[in-house]
């Protein structure tokens, strides 16, 4: 109420929202917002798992743990996986816009494919190296790479 009175008294204090000048700039802005919001959901859950949930579950009685997990994890993992997917898809679109802009400035559109291709080759090489280390051992529920890789539960 008080804010409303202030807003009437001082028009320049009124909340206002304007879109940017071009559709392209607006798309970039929307992509940044989506990337950040879904990135927060993803990484927030990741650190909740690593810093809070896993240590707390280790303290619990195994019978209690078995009851809690099926109620808790489908929802948590659903949000975790989906937000990761949205973050990366939106980020890839943002990346390709920058690639296209650089290629246009350089006067050679084929550079988009070259740059993106090399980037993908480097990522694929890295995934192959990491994936072999992080798959569960035969007959084990844990990931072998968790202790030795970059981050647990990465």
């Amino acid at each position: 109420m008080l804010f409303y009175l202030f807003a009437i008294s001082f028009p320049e204090w009124r909340p206002h929202f304007v879109f940017l000048d071009t559709p392209h700039a607006n798309e970039m802005m929307a992509l940044r917002w989506l990337h950040v919001v879904f990135g927060i959901i993803w990484i927030g859950l990741l650190y909740f798992f690593n810093l809070v949930l896993t240590p707390a579950m280790k303290q619990c009685d195994p019978k209690l743990r078995i009851k809690i997990y099926p109620e808790l994890m489908p929802g948590a993992m659903g949000w975790f996986r989906s937000s990761a997917l949205v973050t990366v898809i939106v980020g890839l679109r943002y990346f390709t816009i920058h690639l296209a802009s650089d290629a246009r400035a350089a006067g050679d559109r084929s550079l988009i494919g070259k740059w993106f291709g090399w980037w993908l080759v480097v990522v694929a090489r890295r995934v192959c190296l990491h994936y072999a280390l992080q798959l569960p051992r035969r007959g084990s529920s844990t990931t072998r790479g968790c202790g030795s890789s970059e981050f647990p539960l990465l």
Partner: protein, 69 residues
């Protein structure tokens, strides 16, 4: 991670390449690896643990010893 970041900068760096492009090359590479890890490693493990828990609750099947790891 450092080696992959260095490699992508060496392969794609140059006078025609913007700072944003190179920064996203490094951060996006990390993000894509994390995404694949989420779907390919963490979720696979989670699905097994979830099946074991449900069987244990509904049908009294004991949890396998590897579930304690």
């Amino acid at each position: 991670m450092i080696a992959a970041s260095w490699l992508v900068l060496v392969l794609n760096g140059g006078p025609d390449v913007s700072n944003a492009h190179l920064a996203i090359s490094v951060g996006g590479g990390l993000g894509l690896v994390m995404l694949l890890n989420t779907w390919g490693v963490v979720w696979r493990v989670q699905k097994r643990a979830d099946t074991w828990s449900r069987l244990s609750i509904k049908e009294g099947v004991p949890m396998p010893p590897e579930a304690e790891d």
